[in-house]
Point group: C2
Chain length 407, copies 2
């Protein structure tokens, strides 16, 4: 290997930098001279805003800090490459620059949008006879990538969700009057992460009382009926996906919005679901309610990462480099669960087009018929992914992170 | 010692059960036959709803689980004893029942309301010549108790706040466009916990850009001016107390309320401050904003407790038993910081009346003149309280807790 380049795209996860380390360390071991990092994904490449990763990851300590550091170390973007038929100049620029840098292999750590970037670049490269290999490295807390058994980043987010939900359930036992807690969990269209709330149940915890995923139509009347059944002089904890929608296709959170958060990019913020439902319950049953949004901590609470997840995140990065070194391109490294118990999982390359732009949702047979719970199958599926811990490097009482890149 | 009784009152903390263990273990060591626990505080005593703690804390493992379990193990209440002059029957009932149970000493783990209970009971006991000792054990995440240097429960909440704020700051660096994150932190009238956000700053973290405490009048115009200074093509993270008020005495959150959450007890829920301010910023500057409420996890995220805090919580419980055994009554065990560096802190008894019903606020000289930050003094004050860790007992990938009491 000569030089390689790597970027991170889309929303971060608690272990996305473990994949970056997997790429960096393996490429160095395999003889890469320079490992370039794109600042803010492909945008950094277009702007020639790169960093020589060897100058910022300088020691074993740096490596151990990097893999424990949340957020995308290189920065991220949400940018979709244009189609080469409509804008070939962008591709010419990219390939010209990559050639100038002496790049052998290009790695992109991201979700299904990022795999579209890998697909387009490898297709274009094949067309012009470029020898550069393009390999995708999966990540997302949403676990919505196709082909792969699960996605790095999901396990740590699931561990955070299950742990905090368990703590909130215990907290709810404190008073001698009923309290309904509604916990809002990320997942616009796929309910994987919300389903992780079901893992809180165990010999020391009663578990959540209801779970609502976006795959099932949400009905406010049935929600209130179910809540009334739950309330029997006792408290209840309800987990709900931010993305639940009513039969007319409207997000539940849109009903509970005082100020409309439409950001500069026209994206609506999908919060307010828990708040709206908690207000409904409070008004209907005249009891105390709490709305809890787990918010961006789901993707950045690196202090409670899953070691299984962190290891797999590293492994997909490392496998991507090995696949590229073996001449593969236009692929993504997927995870293949060989065995459930004992849990054994291996990496394998798959055609990136079988992943790009596709959302994998929770199968309806893993949701109870009334839409208020999940089956044991999904608990068994998630369970191995939240196992084992990796302690932060505690400095001055707080988890220490690698120094951020200079702006 | 014959028998003793203990209760927990007010909002829980991550280490309130460490104080319970301090009482239980020390009383047992000192020869107490039965250690009774009141279910849901003094209400449990009035209803004769007690538990023999020896039947539920049966092993060393139980003890280690108990101190790592969030929420009040015995349950809690928010009940203020009537004045004996208006309702002597309640007191006669309590003392009659305590005598029947052969109680030597009564311990109450709580905040300034709970210390009022200790004051009233010890006064009444002295009047009727009862030999029962009444001792208060401090706890609160708000750190608003008088006399004591700080309050057990605060250090763990501060560690949670500083850690998660640090993770959120890192998360905010991910995109190449500015994002303003507004983080709402508990503290109705006292800003101690919000000030803990300032601890995120270090060599690996730029820290929060502004901190707003309830001790300083909040001015929306100045807030927007300050935010506009911060935004310089870069992201900003702002920590704000849920209890900030404008000059006319209104809570800022009341402005941002779509549905009014007044619970069955007439308490308004103080959330919505971050949401309101984030909407203000989004509308004014047309940029992406995020509102993050740290919510009840501040008091129940036992997975990231401070070991200093947990040890001190145990110590105040243990010291309470020793003080009672030495014949003291009508006192609370306070913490006395003997030295800042190295940090050395001892327990000492104080008159419970010097604590009851008083709120200790952040001194104004620890807040910057413009009200947008805190001084180094408060960071130095909080710093030792968040030091050192105590790992959860991880079982099946999640922190394990002691079995909850049966309803």
């Amino acid at each position: 290997m000569k030089n390689v380049i790597v970027g991170q795209s889309g929303g971060p996860t608690a272990v996305i930098n473990s994949s970056l380390l997997g790429v960096f360390k393996t490429a160095k071991t395999m003889g890469a001279k320079t490992v370039y990092g794109m600042r803010h994904g492909i945008l950094g490449l277009l702007k020639k805003d790169l960093v020589d990763l060897g100058t910022v990851i300088r020691s074993e300590l740096d490596m151990d800090l990097l893999k424990r550091t949340p957020s995308s170390f290189l920065g991220s973007c949400r940018y979709k490459l244009p189609d080469p038929s409509s804008d070939e100049k962008t591709y010419k620029d990219i390939f010209g620059y990559l050639t100038e840098l002496g790049i052998d292999a290009f790695f992109y750590i991201g979700g299904n949008d990022s795999m579209d970037t890998i697909a387009k670049l490898s297709d274009y490269g094949a067309r012009i006879g470029s020898g550069i290999r393009f390999v995708g490295v999966p990540k997302t807390i949403d676990n919505d990538l196709a082909v792969t058994d699960h996605t790095p980043g999901f396990g740590s987010a699931a561990k955070y969700v299950a742990t905090t939900v368990k703590e909130i359930i215990r907290d709810g036992l404190v008073y001698d009057y009923p309290v309904v807690s509604v916990i809002e969990i990320m997942g616009r269209n796929a309910g994987w992460l919300t389903a992780a709330a079901a893992l809180a149940k165990g010999e020391d915890c009663e578990g959540v009382d209801a779970v609502y995923l976006p795959e099932h139509v949400f009905d406010e009347r049935k929600f209130l009926e179910r809540t009334s059944e739950l309330l029997n002089g006792r408290s209840a904890v309800i987990a709900v996906s931010e993305g639940v929608k009513t039969a007319d296709g409207r997000y539940v959170c849109e009903a509970g919005r005082s100020v409309d958060y439409v950001d500069a990019f026209g994206h609506r913020q999908l919060d307010g679901t828990a708040r709206h439902l908690a207000a409904l319950v409070a008004n209907k049953f005249k009891i105390k309610t709490r709305a809890i949004e787990l918010s961006s901590l789901q993707r950045c609470a690196a202090h409670i990462s899953s070691r299984v997840d962190m290891t797999e995140a590293f492994n997909v990065g490392a496998a991507a480099v090995k696949a590229a070194a073996g001449g593969m391109s236009g692929i993504m490294i997927a995870l293949d669960r060989v065995s459930d118990d004992p849990y054994i999982c291996v990496t394998h390359p798959c055609d990136v087009k079988s992943v790009a732009n596709i959302e994998k949702k929770v199968p309806l047979e893993w949701i109870t018929d009334d839409g208020t719970g999940v089956s044991d199958e999904i608990v068994h599926y998630i369970y191995p992914l939240v196992q084992a811990e990796i302690a932060p490097l505690w400095v001055e009482g707080l988890p220490h992170h690698i120094l951020p890149l200079k702006r």
